[in-house]
Symmetry: C2
Subunit: 146 residues, 2 copies
């Protein structure tokens, strides 16, 4: 097998396994983590908006947010402007998640700092293109669905 492809697959496996371990450790599901990602990108949003975004019913989101808040990953506040609504924000707190991701970030930063500026540019370029391809392929697969 092409050594590049092999590396890519290993990275992919490593990423997925890391995510699984984090999920198991914090007591959140893969879907919960996806919702967290949506929330991180989008910023504060209501429970209903999140439900629409992740394609689940409001009821499911209640359970999801329960788990995420229990894990200390998300804050759930009543919207002062409309007290029926629940505003969700990614908790910037300490806690288990900060410990986990902080440690990863430290390692990654240290590793990256050993490259020259030019090398870092190459790496960033590669990552950007890879993300693009992955998103593209994900769309393609999802479109083929049934």
């Amino acid at each position: 097998m092409d050594p590049g492809a092999e590396l890519g697959r290993e990275l992919s496996t490593a990423v997925v396994m890391f995510h699984e371990a984090v999920g198991a450790h914090l007591g959140v599901t893969a879907g919960d983590q996806r919702a967290l990602g949506v929330l991180a990108r989008h910023g504060a949003m209501s429970a209903g908006a999140l439900a629409k975004e992740v394609g689940l019913t409001p009821g499911a989101v209640t359970g999801m947010v329960d788990r995420l808040t229990r894990a200390g990953l998300v804050r759930r506040d009543v919207d002062p402007a409309d007290r029926r609504r629940v505003l969700l924000t990614v908790a910037d707190g300490a806690g288990a998640s900060a410990e986990i991701f902080g440690s990863l970030a430290t390692e990654m930063t240290a590793m990256i700092s050993r490259y020259t500026t030019e090398e870092r540019e190459v790496i960033a370029d590669y990552l950007t293109r890879t993300v693009e391809i992955l998103r593209d392929q994900t769309r393609r697969i999802s479109a083929r669905q049934r």
Copy 2:
């Protein structure tokens, strides 16, 4: 946020979402895909050995292999040397999975071919180190588990 970290998170999300889409498309779970990864790395192995490797009971592996064979990802053969045993191998066949991963591989190969040899070495080095860190961190988290 550090642009490098941001890119890393995006890649991670893209990888996970790609995996989820593949799983949904082929009708296999995340666990199934992990087992497939084990099988790919290890080569042919018996159902019992796979069960031990992924930490599930033999009964669960039966169902898992059912799904994987149904998706055309794995072959299930009786071991001619010991006919109680079931030999599992990654199916190198055509089918939906080949179409999916083939397309991804084509895109990635084309993208990588645009870099010089030196650049490719930098990228490979980066990927290798990243995988190492991820595996390390995964171990760390799993160890912390109660």
